[in-house]
Symmetry: C2
Subunit: 232 residues, 2 copies
DNA sequence: ACCTGAACACCGTTCAAGT
DNA sequence: ACCTGAACACCGTTCAAGT
């Protein structure tokens, strides 16, 4: 009630500033101009106010980063709801979350890279935990095995999508340097010193990151299925 | 030959500066005082020279970051050589690399966090690729499946150890905020809205990150073994 | 009640000047 | 041949002053 009133009052101020509006613009700025463009002064410009006005809505930059991260987790959840049926098998829920998280890390690389290693307990994160635990619980494992599988899936998804995002968020020069490393360096190593690398050159250069990620998710699902069979 | 001469000449200069020495001190500084302490001015202080002297030995800060990262990969390789027999089964080589990488990300969190998402083709990285490809090749998979397994293992190891390092490299205040999120927020959620989370509270609070990582590595190894069985 | 703008203590990097 | 130090264009954050 008080919260609603506050929001209304804020919308009525001269600048129209609010946490909502700041998060929106921060995401837009970071994804459009790169991670390093997300500074208080640039964000102020973006919002048409002085850079320090920000401190009336967030404690510090880290506070903003967490809010921005939860917005992207919300986006991921919405996408799962669009693409996975409510009564789908638990394996398909995990696959759907994996695909949605990969999409998020590709669409919002700067934000994803900034937040993937944080556990914040914010709203969308809590909903994601509940969704995943509810799905994995259907596999019929012990509580300990259920949590192990959930965390293995969640950590691997966050970490691999986070790595994808980190690459996407690097500035063009560095990204090119890294992206071409396989064809530029590994493909021309001397065969005497690096025989195995040379024998697999074509496959190394051709490997797609998302395929590798989804292969790993399948391995985690298969391990849980095997544990369930062994347990029953 | 010219390289050796250059190094000798460098050691003879007044300040004793060299790439070697700078990398050493940079690692020491970053791990002792935190990621944000690794600035050119602080590094200059550490070395007893002006901060800008650095630019005679590295093109820019990114160049230093890559050198520092390769030093930690070298440390990881040395540890694998100490703990895994040369004729060990391929599965045990992967397990040894996983344990060594986790140790590296715990011992050098700042450096690991800075570099885990980079593919640079530097010396130690090349040796690591050759070691892992040679090991996975023993499983008897097709070239495509071999590379898929190698990349799944390598990416997952880098990403999960990288996430561990990112947490370890955060400053104390932020790390505490994140580390306690499970017990501080998730353990006290309302049972009506988050029943699955509450049912697994003890297991969620008690889960150990390294155990989750090693469980994931076992899932990847098991998937490769299953593919080998299916193929032969 | 909310925003501004000066100020503080920092960044990475360049380049003319020194030894 | 190598290093210094001023300079440039930036950071996040605080706080007294304004409207």
């Amino acid at each position: 009630m008080t919260e609603v009133l506050c929001t209304v009052l804020r919308m009525a101020t001269r600048t129209g500033l609010s946490q909502e509006v700041i998060v929106d613009r921060a995401i837009g700025l970071a994804e459009r101009e790169g991670l390093s463009a997300l500074s208080m002064r640039r964000l102020g410009q973006e919002l048409g106010v002085d850079g320090t006005a920000f401190y009336r809505y967030f404690r510090d930059k880290d506070d903003l980063v967490l809010a921005v991260g939860d917005r992207v987790t919300r986006w991921t959840l919405d996408r799962v709801r669009e693409t996975v049926a409510a009564d789908a098998p638990w394996q398909d829920v995990l696959r759907g979350v994996a695909r949605a998280a990969w999409a998020a890390s590709t669409k919002y690389p700067a934000v994803f890279a900034m937040t993937f290693s944080r556990t914040t307990g914010q709203e969308a994160e809590r909903a994601m935990v509940e969704l995943l635990l509810g799905s994995v619980a259907k596999a019929g494992l012990s509580a300990r095995q259920t949590v192990l599988t959930y965390r293995s899936f969640a950590d691997t998804t966050l970490a691999l999508c986070g790595m994808n995002a980190s690459v996407g968020a690097m500035d063009e020069r560095v990204r090119e340097k890294d992206r071409t490393a396989w064809s530029r360096i590994y493909a021309v190593l001397p065969n005497e010193t690096y025989p195995l690398t040379r024998r697999h050159t074509d496959e190394l250069v051709g490997a797609r990151d998302e395929e590798i990620f989804l292969h790993t998710v399948e391995a985690i699902i298969a391990a849980a299925e095997a544990a369930a069979r062994a347990g029953s």
